[in-house]
Amino acid sequence: MFESLWWLSVVFTVLVDFFIAYIVYKNNPRSATNKILSLTAIILLFWDVSNFLALSLMDQEARLFWVRVVMFVTSPLGPLIFMLSSVFPEEKLILNKKLLYVTIFSVVATSLLAISPFTFRALENLPGGSFKLFPGPAILIYGFNLFFFLSWGFIILFKKLKKSSGILRKQLTLFAVGTVSAFTLMVLTNFVAVVVFKSIKFTFLGPSFTLIMVGFIAYAIIRHKLLNIKVIASELLVISLVLILLSKLFLFKTIGEFIVDIIVFTFVLIFSYLLVKSVSREVEQREKLQELTEKLKALDKQKDEFISMAAHELRAPMTAIKGYLSMIMEGDAGKVPDKICEFLRGSVEGNDRLIRLVNNMLNVGRIEEGRMVYQMGNVLLKDIIKDTYNEFKGEAEAKNIIFNFDSTKNLVDKVYVDKDRIYEVITNLASNSIKYTDKGSVSIKLSNPKVGLVRCEIVDTGRGITEDEQKKLFQKFGRAESSSGKTIGSGLGLYISKLLIEKFGGNIGLISESGKGSTFWFELPVV
């Protein structure tokens, strides 16, 4: 029972070592880290096999041979761990050339000595199936090669770990934990116990410990390139399936069985090829998509930065125009004749329209993406509308339109909104109504249609809006035509108003008929 389990564990370890060597190498064949780890996994695989043979064979000479093979195969392990620690997780081999030659020389010398009688000069079978090993003088060279390079490798690893941060730190931690624990255990059971305590009792465990190290490291490297695992895994699955079916072809009992096996094999081969191709394509597409997404994000960021800068630069002169015009109209430079005041009002309106346009262009992206920061507070809608009324009464007068504001008795109009944003909404709606009304009136009305709700209506006697145009209006860049047939506006004002009212928990809408004027309305919950 124990022997079957042992045999199974050996087969399992060999398969896992092979699997990991394959995956790690295919993950990035150009990377020195991946190549060294792959080589380490292959060497551990050979160690597993030769260790098993040394322990399971009964013939003394054969055992000694395989023990020497174990020493030969494991000579590069210490230096490999040292090289892996130096390179991990880089792609290029950045070792000092002299150091590299010294390492190679050490490995070659140790390996040659390993298969000679100078490392283990003799083996004696003991009753019960065990054996005793007699080390030679070169065991010290083997030991030095192993311990020196392992220790150096661990020191490099810990130094790197101390200096690192982020993902690299996580990877190095996994690497360090895996390597140190696995190798400490392996050295204890397969070298110290054998050479110092002359016991081979635990040597069968050695190769299994390698799974700890290889597993940790493979996970550390492959972690953020997980997508490629799909292709490799599907390739391996397909190879295994094809090999199993191929081997079955040679085990047929009848011609009929053979024909069936050939047909199954052919189909599996075709579909396996298609499967691997489709998985590769999917992975490739996903990688391309990721690349495009990164590019888009970068472009989006650039666009935002450009708009912010442009808005900032445009606003500076607009601030000066707004400021000086207001100061003239407030009489800071002396009394201003009415006619001049009238003309100045035109400049103020034009400038304010420009400012609103810049604000809308700047804000639309932020509001859509939820990046807008709102300064919420309780606001009396009446106050905001009074400000709006004062802002637009000049423009309305210039067009000979009656402009008034009306609210019902006992109005409850306290709402929880961002004061500047609700002002923006009302000015957008009022500005639209006045723009699209050439004669008659524009009225702003506040009412409570039911308890807990306040309704603001902006009613105009303009040309009205057709059903088709109504559908476009609250959409981004949706615009209507004025009576002169030209489209006016950027198409952002109503869209932004809709986003804002909905953000504040309200509703916005329009009632209109072509030729019969329009009523833009919004409702908000009262506080």
Binding site: A316, G323, M327, E330, V373
Partner: protein, 133 residues
Amino acid sequence: MIADNQNNTESKKMILLVEDDPLLVKMYSTKLIKEGYGVISAEDGECGLNLALSQKIDLILLDVMMPKLSGIDLLIKLRQDPKGKDIPVIVISNLTQEEEAQKALSLGAKEYLIKANLTPSQIIEKIRKYLVG
């Protein structure tokens, strides 16, 4: 750096205007003086910080994008100094980066105003609010 109307400053409230655009400095200074305030102006953040800590200032009108020291950095240094930590500050800017607004308000600025959206009179109304008493 310009120091305007510093005569008879005992009764006047002194406003430090830290703004690098000369057009806007002239505009705000004119209005502030007309409304009875004393005005000291600085054309960059470094000059502004020095004045804030060396002169008797009742309120600071602070721009954000400026040479040598930005408005936010000025505010950070101002709050680290015992002489400057209690001076009311109103940030006036044409930048609408939320991070800047949040930073300014977290550093104790009373308001973060967009210059282009307000007339000088409207800004002075805000100043009056924070200079009561």
